[in-house]
């Protein structure tokens, strides 16, 4: 299987690898996927309580190169966005940016889920009402 240059770049130089303090009220954590499926993504955000801007995003991913690239790209894209803007990111945007083949589309879906799960967790912690589209849907 040939990987796109962008996937290879994210694989070799993953952006925003790491961990944020899960206990902090400013931090939202999304853990999606399952070891049995060969993909687990953990995506975390630190949100400025006043501006609702995602000031920091971190990830770690167990999965194939496309899964690593999808989550790395996701952290790059959500950083600096408001929570509601970050929710606008669709998995198809990731597919396009990374030129993922059909067999790897699930990696982009998982990255979108991870964003939603992290934001969902942050909202729950901060008593922000869930909007209909912000639920981390299991699929």
């Amino acid at each position: 299987m040939a990987y796109s240059d962008k996937v290879i770049d994210h694989y070799n130089n993953p952006r925003n690898v790491g961990q944020l303090d899960k206990a902090s009220t400013e931090v939202g954590t999304g853990l999606v996927g399952a070891p049995e499926c060969g993909d687990v993504m953990r995506l975390q955000i630190r949100v400025n309580p006043e501006t609702q801007v995602i000031e920091e995003a971190k990830f770690k991913t167990f999965g194939c190169g496309s899964a690593i690239a999808s989550s790395s790209l996701a952290t790059e894209w959500i950083k600096g966005k408001t929570v509601s803007d970050a929710l606008e990111i669709k998995n198809t945007d990731i597919v396009k940016e990374l030129s993922l083949p059909p067999v790897k589309i699930h990696c982009s879906v998982l990255a979108e889920d991870a964003i939603r799960a992290a934001i969902g967790d942050w909202k729950k912690k901060n008593g922000v009402a869930e909007t209909a589209d912000a639920t981390a849907a299991a699929h």
């Binding site: 990987y3 290879i8 694989y11 070799n12 130089n13 993953p14 690898v17 790491g18 961990q19 853990l31 999606v32 996927g33 399952a34 070891p35 049995e36 499926c37 060969g38 993909d39 687990v40 993504m41 953990r42 770690k60 991913t61 167990f62 999965g63 194939c64 190169g65 899964a67 690593i68 067999v103 699930h106 879906v109 998982l110 889920d113 799960a117 981390a136 299991a138 699929h139």
Partner: protein, 417 residues
């Protein structure tokens, strides 16, 4: 921190990419090629042509190859039938025996980690009214002999158990299996594709009645295989599956692939001479690779019984690292992964699952297949490269981090998708 720019240098004498997937296929030995070449051009005769020297010359070459193959496995030349490869050999053996012995019974015994050429053949026979028992394997990949004894009943006509597994390299106890089969009057077939030329096999001592082998796994050409069919004690009969000119004692019609057969014969002759020394060499390389990986990496899991094992095989799970991502990092080394992501089906290896490994461990497995042309310098390079990439990927792995923090991954409610 996690940026990967490889620090591993390519040592002198190592050419990239490195081939370390010899269970999939092996490069052809130049000596084999040399033996084959005349049979494409000047000695092109049809081995079935009885009326001229071209035919006699081809026939002579085929008979020499038959003897070379027979010698390697302790058979006689007349007991060797040529086929297009091991898939055909397995199909011919199992379907041919099932058809021939249908009146005696309809029960076949095999086991779950067989190659698909055996499993899918058995599945087809089930559609035609045969009953098939798929024996489980233990955690080390070997069958339990007691399971086999219990499975044999008065309708059992055939037991088909592989000699060596293509993924995890374990050697099934074929001698014991064959002994039990002979005591019960059941035919014993073994798919010995991975074993022939790698470990000693003797059809008499090992109580084998029918044996499949192929040339391209032992440094011969693709597209040529053979089936050993025992002629006495007991005499095994096989119903032809391809009808035609009645070649190969009527068991397999079709003009013989003379250059391929010459190559298979030569490959067997080389193996007869060199197998013992080569096995020791490969075992040395394999142990070196295993030792290097084990000394630098934690949470690695060796798959399959290492005592009863092919010399050139090493199947390791690098737990908490997904196999395809590892392959991507060592893209100048050709190996295989049991990970789902490397296949179109998204199902991890059924062989590893049969060992009782969790899917997550199966997803993390890499199969190293060392062969005749691998060198110590290559092993050292591959080990260094794998260690570097596994460390890189574990920095990215949430699972590895959680385990180091003492979290029990089995207690987490995963959002499976």
């Amino acid at each position: 921190m996690s940026t990967l720019s490889s620090q591993v240098e390519t040592p002198a004498g190592v050419t990239l990419p490195i081939y370390m997937d010899n269970h999939a296929t092996s490069p052809m030995d130049p000596r084999v090629l040399e033996a084959m070449l005349p049979y494409f051009t000047t000695k092109f005769g049809n081995a079935a042509s009885r009326n001229h020297s071209f035919g006699w010359e081809a026939e002579q070459a085929v008979e020499t190859a038959r003897e070379q193959i027979a010698k390697l496995i302790g058979a006689t030349a007349k007991e060797i039938i040529f086929t297009s490869g091991a898939t055909e050999s397995n199909n011919l053996a199992i379907k041919g025996i099932a058809e021939m012995y249908r009146e005696r019974g309809n029960h076949i015994i095999t086991q779950v980690t067989e190659h698909k050429a055996v499993l899918d053949t058995c599945k087809r026979l089930e559609k035609y009214g045969y009953r098939v028992t798929y024996l489980p394997v233990k955690a080390d990949g070997l069958i339990d002999i007691e399971d086999l004894k219990r499975a044999i009943d008065d309708k059992t006509i055939l037991v088909s158990i592989m000699a060596a597994n293509n993924e995890i390299g374990v050697l099934q106890p074929i001698r014991e299996i064959g002994k039990i089969c002979h005591e019960k009057g059941v035919i014993f077939h073994t798919d010995a594709v991975q074993a022939v030329g790698k470990v000693p096999i003797n059809v008499i001592a090992d109580n084998i009645d029918v044996l499949s082998l192929t040339a391209h796994k032992l440094y011969g050409p693709k597209g040529c295989g053979a089936l050993y069919v025992r002629r006495r004690n007991p005499r095994v009969q096989i119903a032809a599956q391809i009808d035609g000119g009645g070649h190969e004692r009527g068991m397999r019609s079709g003009t013989l692939n003379v250059p391929g057969i010459v190559g298979l014969g030569k490959a067997c002759a080389i193996a007869s001479e060199e197998m013992e020394a080569e096995a020791a060499y490969l075992r040395g390389l394999r142990d070196r690779l295993q030792h290097k990986l084990e000394s630098e990496l934690d949470y690695i899991h060796i798959n399959g019984n290492m005592e009863h094992h092919l010399p050139g095989n090493l199947n390791i799970s690098f737990v908490y690292v997904e196999g395809e991502s590892l392959l991507m990092g060592i893209n100048d080394v050709a190996v295989s992964s049991g990970s789902a992501c490397t296949s179109a089906t998204l199902e991890p290896s059924y062989v590893l699952k049969a060992l009782g490994l969790g899917d997550d461990v199966a997803h993390s497995s890499i199969r190293f297949g060392l062969g005749r042309f691998n060198t110590q310098a290559e092993v050292d390079y591959v080990a260094a490269k794998v260690i570097e990439i596994v460390k890189h990927l574990r920095l990215l792995s949430p699972l590895y981090e959680m385990v180091l923090e003492g979290i029990d991954l089995t207690k987490i409610q995963w959002a499976a998708h």
